[in-house]
C-alpha cells in the first residue's frame, strides 16, 4: 500500500515537473523589422526547450549554430541566406527540430564540406519541410543518430562536378529516416558512407550530376519506393552487406558509365519489386554474392543485366524482361548463379505440356552480347542479318556463350 502511494506521488511530481517545463517554454518571434531581427540572436536569448518562430523575410546570416534543444519554425517564406560564406546553419545539440524554412547559399570549398545545414554529433533531430537552395552540400549529417529527414526540397544549380556537393550526405551516422524528399542538381543526390540502419523511403532524386543514390560501407539499410531518374551516372552502391532495395524506380540513366543500379561488392542483399527502365545498363553486378533478385521488371534497357563472372550464388527468379536490347551479358563462359522462372520477351520456345513454363531452356546471353562485351565497337553491327544468323546458330549449338547460364523454366507469360 505504502509502495503504491509512493509511486503515485512520485509520478505526479514527475508529471508536474514535465508540464511546468512545457509551460515555461517560451516562444521567440524573429522578424526582419522587429526588435528581434536575427536568428543567431534569438538562439542566444532562448533557453532549452523554447520555440523560435522565423517570420517571412530574408535573414542574411552565416554560421547560425543551434547549440541547445530548440524548435525553430518558419512562417511564410522565411529564408536564411548564407551569402556564399561557409556553413549556413549548424546543429550541435540533441533534440532540435527545424521546420518549414529555407536555407540558401552556403560557401564552396575544396577542403571543407560546407553545407546549408550541418548536423554534427547530435541525436533526436527532426528536419522537416525545409527548402535548401544553391548550397554546396545540402543536408550534411556527421556522427549523428536518431534523425528524421522528411519533406525537404533540396536543389542546386552546380554546373561543374567539382563545385557541387551532395544533396543529402550522411557520414558515420546511425538510425536515420529519410523520407519524402526531393533532391536535384547536386553532385550525388543521396550519399551515405559508414552509416547503419538508415531507411530511405519515397524520395525523388533526379538530374543530379553524378549519382542519384550512392552508398558505401553502409550495412543494414533499406531503400524503398524511391524514384531515381535522369542522373549523370545512375546509381552505384558498394562494399555493403544486407541491404534491402524494394519497389524503387530506376529509370532514364543513359551514358557509357551510367547504370540503373550498379552493385560492387554487395552481398546477402535483396533486390525485389524494382522497375528498371530505359537505362544503358539496368543492373550491373561485380564481385557481388548471395543476393536474391526477384519480382523486378526490366524494360527497354540497353543491357537488362550485366553480370560479371566474379559474382556468385545470386538467384534471379520471377523477374520480367521486356524488350531489352540485351537481356543478360557476362564476361566468362562460367556461371555460378541461378536463373529460374523469369519471363523473357526474347524467348522463342513452346509449352506443349501447358504448365505455363517453356519446355526448352532460355539462353539470355546472346552470342553477339559476348562479342560486344569484348569489342564494344562491334555494336554498330547490331541490326545486321549476319548477326541474327550467328545468334540463331549459337542458340542451337552454344560454343561461345556460357552454356550453364540458362533459365531452365522460362515463363510463357509475364509474372504479374
Amino acid at each position: 500500500m505504502f509502495k503504491k502511494i509512493l509511486i503515485i506521488t512520485l509520478s505526479t511530481l514527475a508529471s508536474i515537473l514535465v508540464f511546468s517545463g512545457v509551460l515555461s517554454a517560451q516562444n521567440w518571434v524573429v522578424s526582419p523589422k522587429g526588435n528581434l531581427n536575427s536568428v543567431t540572436e534569438a538562439i542566444a536569448k532562448a533557453s532549452s526547450g523554447d520555440t523560435i518562430t522565423i517570420t517571412e523575410g530574408v535573414y542574411f546570416e552565416t554560421g547560425v549554430v543551434v547549440d541547445k534543444p530548440l524548435t525553430i519554425i518558419g512562417e511564410g517564406k522565411a529564408i536564411i541566406d548564407g551569402q556564399e560564406d561557409g556553413f549556413v546553419v549548424i546543429v550541435r545539440s540533441d533534440s532540435v527540430t527545424l521546420k518549414n524554412f529555407e536555407i540558401h547559399n552556403s560557401g564552396t570549398s575544396f577542403i571543407d564540406d560546407y553545407a546549408g545545414l550541418l548536423v554534427e554529433k547530435s541525436q533526436n533531430v527532426v528536419l522537416d519541410g525545409l527548402t535548401l537552395a544553391d548550397n554546396f552540400f545540402g543536408i550534411y549529417l556527421s556522427q549523428s543518430a536518431n534523425v528524421l529527414i522528411q519533406n525537404n526540397t533540396i536543389t542546386a544549380s552546380g554546373l561543374k562536378e567539382t563545385s557541387s556537393g551532395n544533396g543529402v550526405h550522411l557520414w558515420y551516422s546511425k538510425n536515420v529516416h529519410v523520407q519524402n524528399n526531393t533532391v536535384t542538381g547536386h553532385r550525388d543526390g543521396f550519399y551515405f558512407e559508414f552509416v547503419e540502419e538508415v531507411e530511405v523511403v519515397n524520395n525523388l532524386s533526379h538530374n543530379n550530376l553524378r549519382y542519384g543514390l550512392h552508398f558505401m560501407f553502409s550495412n543494414n539499410c533499406s531503400y524503398s519506393h524511391n524514384e531515381i531518374s535522369n542522373n549523370g551516372a545512375g546509381v552505384a552502391v558498394m562494399y555493403t552487406s544486407k541491404v534491402k532495395i524494394r519497389n524503387n524506380n530506376f529509370k532514364d540513366n543513359w551514358g557509357s558509365a551510367a547504370y540503373g543500379l550498379l552493385l560492387k561488392e554487395i552481398n546477402e542483399s535483396e533486390i525485389v519489386d524494382n522497375n528498371f527502365s530505359n537505362n544503358s545498363v539496368g543492373l550491373y553486378m561485380e564481385s557481388s554474392n548471395r543476393n536474391n533478385i526477384f519480382d523486378n521488371t526490366f524494360i527497354q534497357n540497353g543491357w537488362a543485366i550485366k553480370l560479371m563472372a566474379n559474382s556468385m550464388d545470386n538467384v534471379f527468379t520471377d523477374n520480367n524482361f521486356f524488350a531489352n536490347t540485351f537481356e543478360v551479358t557476362t564476361n566468362s563462359k562460367q556461371n555460378f548463379n541461378l536463373f529460374e522462372a523469369n519471363y523473357w520477351s526474347h524467348y522463342e520456345g513452346y509449352d506443349l505440356d501447358k504448365d505455363g513454363f517453356g519446355d526448352v531452356p532460355h539462353r539470355p546471353v546472346r552470342l553477339f552480347s559476348v562479342v560486344v562485351q569484348k569489342h564494344p565497337q562491334a555494336l554498330i553491327l547490331l541490326r545486321s542479318t549476319l548477326i541474327d544468323l550467328l545468334d540463331a546458330t549459337e542458340k542451337f549449338l552454344p560454343v561461345i556463350t556460357p552454356d550453364k547460364l540458362i533459365d531452365a523454366k522460362p515463363r510463357m507469360r509475364e509474372k504479374l
Binding site: K121, W171, K174, F194, L209, A257
Partner: protein, 161 residues
Amino acid sequence: MFNQQFKNKFFIALAAVLIAVSACSNKPHEIHFGSDECAHCKMVIMDEEFATQIVKKTGKAFKFDSIECLAAYTKEQQPKATDQTLWVPDFATVEWVNANDAFFVKSEVIKSPMGMGLLAFKSNEAANNHINQYPGKIISWNELTGFEMKSHSETMNMMKH
C-alpha cells in the same frame, strides 16, 4: 579570310603536336571528370585533387578516382613496376606527380573519395605544410599499399557517440 595555305599549315602543326603528344607514351592522360570510370571501384571520377592513373609503356591509361584505388589495384595486379608509371595529383596544385617522387599524407579531416583521407604532395615541404594546418601524418607508399580498404566493423568502432 584564311587561305588554303594557312589551313594546311595549321593541320600540319596540329599533326605535329598530336605526334609529339602520342610519342611521350608514359605521360599522364587527360581525365574526363564526370564521365570516366575508376578502373578499380567503378565510380565515376569527379575530383582533380584525388584522381590518379597508371600509364603503361604501351600508352594505355588506367584511371582511378583516388589514391586508395590506385594502391589497391597495384597490389591486386602486381604488375612489373618497370613497364608502367603511376601518376598522382599534388593536392595543392593538382599537377601530376610521379608516385615515386610523391609524398603521401593520411589526413584525419579531409575526405577522399574512398574515405581513407589519402593525399599526395609533390614535395616533402608541401606535405609538411599541409599537416601543420590540418591534422594528419606523412606515410610512405609501402605503408599505404599495406592498407586494406577499411572493414565496416572497424569504421563503426571509430564512431564517437
